[in-house]
């Protein structure tokens, strides 16, 4: 199993560890409900160093990114980041990713899902016909997400960068906790606010940065958070998880990612998605909450009142902040409107649920 610069830290802190995308990662520390609440109400630290980072450089870097991603990266100026996805030749989603514009028209960083690093790298390489300089810096890049309403307040004393006023989906570069060349971005996967900190894993920098963050946040109750709470936090917000809610067989339009699909530019399978948009999608990713008592889980069938399967659950959980069971799944369009009653098949029982707006409330 691969490790991150913080793997030993997690083990020493007594985290429950498990293999995630080939990395030995912390799943939980104090308990998922406690960790979830810590991020919603205060501040928590996630080690997400397993994420993949690619640097694309050169005058044709933007062109390559534009060709392969659905959002319009030409809108990015230095210091801005964008959520996007890459589509395959059939219009399915290869991966969802963040694109950071380090230097306009010259240097970009793509942040991809750990489980897709090799697939994405190969796909981009195959389409790199204009000699864009590509570097896979995943192994030497550490990434901590410090999330929660108190995150930037806790971190501000550690840097001259103005974290308190860093706008959503922008980033700054500078010195943090005495370590230079740190990228801090106002992004995250929790909906709780906060930042993500990218830095090169060299010397004892990782140790220094981890300790500085926890020293700064100790009096305010900052805690380390595992991937289990990361999942419940993102699900409450209705954020898609690749491999669950979106994959190679689902299109951005079906997955509710029409807002990052820009038909004003070219991208892989644009023509297929244009047709799909014109003719209308057949199924759609929706959020639902349980009316009957029970918890939806990935893979459970969604049925109509005649017990006919109309889709399946892609993510589900008891939502810690909301005190109810929620899920996401694909249903046929007839059942996709807000308020529609659907049934989830939980161990041979059909439990009633209702399609609701996301983020869940």
């Amino acid at each position: 199993m691969k490790t991150t610069p913080f793997t030993q830290k997690h083990i020493d802190l007594g985290a429950k560890m498990a293999d995630f995308a080939g990395y030995n990662m912390p799943i939980s520390y104090s308990g998922i409900n406690d960790e979830h609440a810590t991020v919603r109400k205060n501040a928590g630290v996630f080690d997400v160093s397993h994420m993949g980072e690619f640097i694309l450089k050169g005058e044709n870097a933007l062109g390559l990114i534009q060709k392969l991603s659905t959002n319009d990266a030409s809108k990015l100026s230095a210091g801005k980041a964008q959520y996007s996805c890459m589509t395959n030749n059939e219009g399915g989603i290869i991966d969802d990713l963040l694109i950071y514009c380090i230097e306009e028209n010259k240097v970009y960083m793509l942040v991809v899902n750990a489980s897709n690093i090799e697939k994405d790298w190969n796909w981009i390489s195959e389409h790199n016909t204009d000699d864009v300089e590509m570097h896979n810096v995943t192994e030497k890049t550490a990434l901590l997400a410090i999330q929660g309403p108190n995150a930037t307040k806790i971190l501000q004393p550690l840097t001259d960068m103005d974290l308190l006023n860093l706008k959503y989906y922008t980033f700054a570069k500078g010195t943090f906790a005495g370590v230079g060349n740190i990228l801090v971005s106002a992004t995250g996967y929790t909906g709780a606010g906060g930042v993500e900190i990218y830095f090169e894993d060299k010397g004892d920098d990782a140790e220094k940065i981890w300790n500085a963050i926890f020293d700064a946040g100790k009096s305010l109750g900052i805690k380390p958070i595992g991937l289990a709470a990361r999942d419940t936090l993102r699900l409450e917000m209705g954020f898609c998880l690749y491999g669950n809610d979106i994959d190679d067989t689902t299109t951005p339009l079906e997955g509710g990612l029409g807002w990052i699909t820009k038909f004003t530019k070219d991208f892989t399978a644009k023509n297929i998605l244009e047709i799909q948009k014109k003719e209308g999608i057949q199924r759609k990713l929706v959020g639902f909450e349980m009316i009957d008592k029970g918890i939806p889980r990935k893979g459970y069938a969604i049925v109509n009142t005649n017990d006919e399967e109309i889709g399946h659950v892609t993510s589900g959980t008891q939502a810690p902040s909301l005190g109810k069971a929620i899920g996401m799944g694909y249903v046929k369009m007839e059942q996709a409107s807000i308020g529609s009653k659907i049934h989830i098949k939980v161990r041979e029982k059909q439990l009633e649920a209702q399609v609701v707006k996301m983020p869940f409330a």
Binding site: K16, G31, I32, A228, T232, K293, G294, R297, Q318, P320
Partner: protein, 125 residues
């Protein structure tokens, strides 16, 4: 971790305490730790006679769901009503207030044949 000596244990991480033919059943401290925060205990077999290793219910944690297996042959009499509103008792007090069901066992000797605390601890160790 705590594994009380007066209880018997199964490979599926349940404990059983016997008083005559009447038994109380729950899940072990190891099991509740593995599951994480428990949010729902579902038992719909009250009044039913089941065999050892039959599924008598399910326990839902935030991230996962797990079947509950009956340790020995017998009849399910009662679900711990407190778990309906406070399923977290299974986490906080797995051998006490977090018990799950009471049952009548067909053959108390079957209970004696289950693992003792030391054997169970060795298994999960």
């Amino acid at each position: 971790m705590n594994f009380p000596a007066e209880l018997k244990y199964t490979k599926d991480h349940e404990w059983i305490s016997l008083d005559g033919n009447n038994a109380t059943i729950g899940i072990t401290e190891f099991a509740q730790k593995e599951l994480g925060d428990i949010v729902y205990v579902e038992v719909e077999t009250i009044g039913k006679s089941l065999k050892a290793n039959d599924v008598f219910g399910t326990v839902e944690a935030v991230k996962t769901v797990s079947d509950l297996f009956l340790p020995v042959d017998g009849t399910i009499n009662e679900l711990n009503g407190a778990l309906t509103s406070q399923p977290e008792l299974v986490n906080s007090d797995p051998y006490g207030e977090g018990w799950m069901i009471k049952m009548t066992v067909d053959n108390p000797e079957e209970v004696e044949a289950l693992m003792n605390a030391a054997d169970y601890e060795a298994m999960v160790g």
